[in-house]
């Protein structure tokens, strides 16, 4: 004040006592004015901010959106259709200390979410010592809004990220599961966390990397649906199916019923819903004869028309018999086409134990397989490989392999002999390493021809589909329970599509199907028609066009070649072919073996 007054004085104010007093007063007034202006400015600002709260500057961190630490990449099928994705979900939590009317709050919440237990909630809210209780997790935005609108103090809504599987049950077992914290626990989800964690870290919920699987959703759905029908119709305990691209090992579809809805995690706890394709081992039965015959043909143990005795065979204290026994010797071709156990056992005996072991090992049937959807158990096979083992393994008993391992071995038999590794992720380009060769391309072509004959005039004739070149092999295996073979069976059919230019392998396995009519519980009666129905539906999806050569169901060739035309050479009975007593199997008769009003006419349509 003194300095202010003296400043006025120096500016030319009146000197003297009187002047000094006036200067001081002026200084006071000036000061007051300054303060008044300051207060006016501040209150003006305050009124302004009160009127426009949006203009108020705030610390930036206050409104920051929650971090997306646990967001996961999307999983899509080979055509880019979403199989698993993340959405924003909300978790509802409560602070019981701040809830004034616990019973009232519990009642309101239970009314909003009928799955909540009102009594339990009320008990939680009465516990005033607690500061934090979960109310409900995984709310969608609408539900979160509704919960917020209840206006219960002490309730808080926490935003987080949740995993959803829009396709439901389809492909559930391949995708696996995540836990409540959105961490992968099994299947592809686990694989993403373990192996791809660094490569695919999401930035925001909208911009997330994708993991592309080799699965085709359409094929996957058809497989699941047809297996579901089959399981119901034949009252099977379980049904497995696999569609494999034999050229590069990509799995197009893999189904194991019963399956589960990944959006309901609790279902997956059920042991019965596991992915049997990968986790279980099966004795697959006669489909293994493919390996026995391929070995014999590839290593010149026997030729296609060489004959083997097919009468009952005694090994040690047990007898090997055929369902359709014949007295005459059968050719290798007929042993395969009519699925003769005794013939296959004798071929294996001719090849020898060591050769059989080496051949099966070269197909990878002795090792466990690591896939993106899980690691298979080690196949079960005898430690000491005696001639009796060799005989039973020749027709698929005494060796148990995971279905996916079997399918990969089978793929190398039909694809020209290349070893392939089943993969659930799309392979990026070619590694350009010469693939390991299991058998010669010529043997592979011959095997495909034999598989075609199985469908044309053998045990697999019910798998025939009009216009499609399906080749296949049936396999009926007796099931071991408590160390004994029972009357329950595991029926399989492995099909290759199309035979002339192998692209896809279809494996169908029905676990413990019941016979529709007495004495007809063989793979040819249930697994084969199921595989045929699947092939019929997936062929158009996979661009497998019908072959114009021959229409099986109508038994009329598209091209009108004479009976000696080269197109019909495969169908002509070979001069060496031997015939069994069963009239249905005794030669070439398309009309008889594939009736027009057959299985497909009656099936689920």
């Amino acid at each position: 004040m003194r300095t202010l007054a003296s400043a006025f004085q120096r500016l030319g104010g009146s000197p003297g006592q009187k002047g000094a007093a006036r200067n001081a007063r002026r200084a006071q007034v000036l000061l007051c004015l300054c303060f008044a202006a300051g207060f006016c400015a501040v209150s003006g600002r305050a009124i302004y901010y009160a009127a426009f709260p949006g203009e108020m500057p705030m610390l930036a961190s206050a409104g920051a959106p929650p971090a997306l630490a646990k967001s996961r990449p999307d999983i899509v099928d080979r055509n880019g259709r979403i199989l698993a994705t993340d959405i924003r979900v909300y978790w509802l939590a409560a602070n019981p200390k701040e809830i004034p009317h616990a019973d009232d709050a519990a009642e309101k919440l239970a009314a909003l979410f009928p799955d909540l237990n009102q009594a339990a909630l009320s008990r939680k809210f009465h516990d005033k010592a607690s500061r934090f209780e979960w109310v409900k997790r995984g709310l969608v935005p609408g539900q979160a809004k509704a919960a917020h609108a209840l206006g219960i103090p002490g309730l808080s809504v926490l935003a987080t990220v949740g995993r959803v599987y829009p396709q439901g049950n389809d492909a559930a077992q391949i995708l696996g599961l995540t836990n409540v914290d959105n961490e992968g626990m099994s299947g592809i989800e686990w694989y993403i966390d373990q192996k791809l964690a660094g490569q695919v870290a999401p930035a925001s919920l909208a911009k997330r990397p994708i993991v592309k699987l080799s699965l085709d959703l359409g094929v996957q759905h058809v497989l699941a649906e047809e297996l579901g029908h089959a399981m119901q119709r034949y009252q099977a305990a379980a049904a497995l199916g696999l569609v494999l691209d034999v050229r590069n090992g990509e799995v197009l579809a893999s189904v194991s019923l019963p399956d589960f809805d990944p959006n309901r995690r609790e279902q997956a706890m059920d042991e019965n819903r596991r992915n049997r394709i990968v986790t279980d081992v099966y004795e697959l039965g006669s489909v293994f004869k493919t390996f026995t015959i391929a070995m014999a043909l590839d290593q010149n143990v026997a030729g296609r028309y060489d004959r083997f005795d097919a009468s009952p065979l005694r090994i040690g204290h047990f007898m090997v018999r055929d369902a359709h026994a014949v007295r005459e010797p059968m050719s290798v071709e007929d042993i395969y086409v009519h699925s003769s156990n005794t013939g296959a056992a004798r071929i294996a005996a001719a090849a020898g134990v060591a050769r059989q072991q080496r051949f099966l090992e070269s197909l990878g049937l002795f090792e466990k397989l690591e896939t993106e959807a899980g690691t298979t158990p080690k196949p079960v096979f005898p430690a000491a490989w005696r001639p009796a083992n060799a005989a039973t393994i020749a027709y698929g008993h005494g060796i148990a392999v995971p279905p996916i391992v079997f399918a990969s071995a089978m793929a190398s038999i039909v694809n020209g002999g290349k070893r392939i590794k089943p993969a659930f992720l799309l392979s990026e380009g070619s590694a350009d390493v010469a693939p390991e060769r299991a058998i010669q391309p010529e043997t592979s072509a011959l095997m495909r021809e034999l598989m075609r004959l199985v469908v044309q005039r053998g045990t697999g004739h019910r798998a025939a589909a009009a216009g499609l070149d399906i080749g296949g092999k049936t396999g009926t295996a007796l099931k071991v329970k408590d160390g004994h073979y029972t009357h329950d069976v595991v029926n399989s059919f492995v099909a290759v599509l199309p035979v002339t230019d192998p692209k896809y392998l279809i494996l169908v396995t029905l676990d413990e199907p019941k016979a529709e009519t007495a004495d007809k519980n063989e793979a040819g009666y249930n697994a084969a028609p199921t595989a045929g129905a699947i092939a019929q539906r997936i062929a158009p999806m996979l661009d497998v066009l019908p072959t114009p050569r021959f229409d099986e169901t109508a038994a009329t060739p598209y091209e009108r070649g004479g009976s000696n035309s080269p197109q019909r050479a495969v169908l002509r009975k070979s001069p060496y072919e031997t015939s069994g007593p069963d009239p249905r199997y005794s030669g070439y008769s398309q009309r008889e073996s594939v009736p027009n009003s057959g299985y497909f006419g009656a099936y689920g349509r």
Partner: protein, 110 residues
Amino acid sequence: MLYTYDLKFKTRKLETQAQALVAELQDESDFLALARADTTYLSRPERIEEMARRELKLEPIAPAQLVPWKAILASEDPSWQPQTAPAPRKDGIAALIEKAVAPAAAQALR
């Protein structure tokens, strides 16, 4: 000094705006993710198949319905060949969809 204050306030204001935009973006992207999941859920094969069977009376295509070019070229059967300019055909599926959707649409308009 006043200038500094002004600058600080302006910076804060811009920061707030940026934050609001980020939050809005986040909301939109959340919604987008939700909508995408919803679309996928509604177009899952299970549902489409059921609807196609019920509303459109369609069946899965059979392999025999497809004919490769080779068969058409090789065939002497005149029915394969296009005879004259194909007459304009009614789109049967479109008609079915319209029939199925029209009542519902009319109801929605009301």
